[in-house]
């Protein structure tokens, strides 16, 4: 099996990584770059726990090959806070109690941030549509949706 050396910008840092053909972006982030905030849930593109931004768009990192992101930009949950300040949606999810076990939270926050980037003032329905690919087994979603709406109101 082939190996490839790729250059990728992750959370603003330039990284050079050697990856095997069958290594997913998720595995590269967790195992090569030790960015374990991104979670491995279903490994089939259904649960959204592995969601990261690829060039600003949310993707399931279990469904992207590491070799495909050569020359691209990735943002993971570790890159959401800027200059020691949490992103507004990180703050509101804490305030609203939108976190219980926390496993879905990194992917949920990446999807929420991507939504607010493309639509700063979404309706409740638009929030639901944007988060439909992020499964949460704890919260019942209401407080997560409220968190995103509160973040939109404050930004």
């Amino acid at each position: 099996m082939g190996f490839h050396q790729i250059s990728v910008k992750v959370n603003g840092n330039d990284e050079v990584v050697t990856v095997s053909s069958n290594m997913t972006l998720l595995r590269m982030l967790r195992e090569s770059l030790a960015l374990t905030g991104t979670k491995n849930g279903c490994a089939a593109g259904e649960c959204g726990a592995c969601t990261v931004m690829l060039n600003g768009e949310p993707v399931n990192s279990c469904m992207v090959l590491a070799v495909e992101v050569d020359g691209q930009e990735i943002t993971t949950i570790e890159g959401l806070a800027k200059d020691g300040q949490l992103d507004i949606v990180q703050k509101t999810i804490i305030e609203k109690g939108g976190v219980q076990c926390g496993f879905c939270t990194p992917g949920m926050l990446i999807s929420a941030r991507a939504l607010l980037n493309r639509n700063p003032h979404p309706t409740e329905e638009q929030v639901v549509e944007a988060l439909v690919g992020n499964l949460c087994r704890c919260t019942g979603y209401s407080r997560i949706i409220e968190s995103v709406q509160a973040a939109a109101e404050r930004s």
Partner: protein
């Protein structure tokens, strides 16, 4: 014990520099080489053991796969590397509302950041959500093979579940959807186990337009997902809607004809019998909604 999170099996990732090289490589290494674009279906099937290619050939860098354009004469052309989200937000895709509605129904936003309409077509799943719209809009596939460029109409492209007319070395570069008839109304009704994000139990693509060449004065294109070995066109239902005065009784007859023609299977998402009844009810609903809008 089977791992709960099986990784991808071993393969070699290949990114050809040009179309000729890509087609030749795929032809020379058939059936061990498989083209892919978004990978959202390919990777799942590899993890599940349905595919075990020795080579995965990334087509996203190839000429002609990045096109997304609308021409008032030729229509809408969508390249193989264009993810569904880009189609949904492309301003001129509004000429094709049925396609936009169907594309928005696929899985989740982050999956649609990668999933492509060409991938949906090439996988030839009977459940493909966007295939019905591409059939209703009379799509033409633009293909590069070992003998160069060629075109194939989408109607007739599917030969069975996961099977199509592509030959080793063929790469679908794009699909062209001709300019649709003015004033047409489209509707995609997807029945899933939940309101958003699931695969379809039944998917109804319906398009209607006023047409003076038919007895009814209307022409309908219908395509149904998840009810036959291939995306299914209920031709008799379309004929009923074209040849009879369009009223409640005609719509009932057409919906019944669609139900009688489909040959679904029982699976984890629904029984064959349930699917048949849902075909009748949802064809009825789609056609009725379109009729109301056309006569408004």
């Amino acid at each position: 014990m089977t791992s709960a999170h099986p990784g991808l099996p071993e393969f070699d990732y290949v990114k050809p520099a040009g179309l000729k090289e890509a087609s030749q490589f795929l032809a020379q290494h058939a059936p061990e080489a498989r083209p892919f674009s978004g990978g959202t279906d390919t990777f799942v099937r590899m993890r599940d053991g349905f595919f075990n290619p020795k080579y995965l050939v990334d087509v996203k860098g190839l000429d002609g796969t990045h096109v997304l354009k609308f021409d008032e004469k030729e229509g809408l052309t969508i390249g193989a590397a264009i993810p569904m989200n880009r189609v949904v937000t492309f301003a001129d895709a509004s000429h094709y509302p049925l396609l936009v509605e169907a594309a928005k129904s696929v899985a989740s936003y982050q999956l649609r950041s990668r999933a492509t309409i060409i991938g949906n077509i090439c996988n030839a799943s009977p459940a493909g959500d966007t295939i019905g719209a591409c059939l209703a809009y009379q799509g033409i596939l633009n293909i590069h093979g070992v003998d160069g460029y060629k075109s194939l109409p989408l109607n007739g492209f599917f030969t069975g579940p996961g099977k199509n007319l592509l030959k080793p070395g063929d790469i679908v570069l794009s699909i062209t959807l001709p300019v649709p008839p003015k004033g047409h109304i489209g509707r995609y009704i997807k029945l899933g186990r939940n309101r958003l994000s699931d695969l379809s139990i039944v998917g109804i693509s319906a398009m209607g337009v006023k047409d003076s060449s038919t007895k009814s004065g209307y022409k309908f294109h219908l395509a149904i997902a998840s009810v036959a070995p291939v995306p299914f066109i209920p031709a008799k239902a379309e004929e009923i809607l074209a040849n009879n005065a369009l009223n409640a009784e005609t719509v009932n007859l057409a919906a019944q004809a669609a139900m009688d023609a489909v040959t679904p299977i029982d699976d984890v998402r629904g029984s064959a019998q349930y699917r048949k009844f849902m075909v009748r009810n949802l064809v009825h609903r789609a056609v009725t909604e379109i009729m109301q809008k056309l006569s408004a």
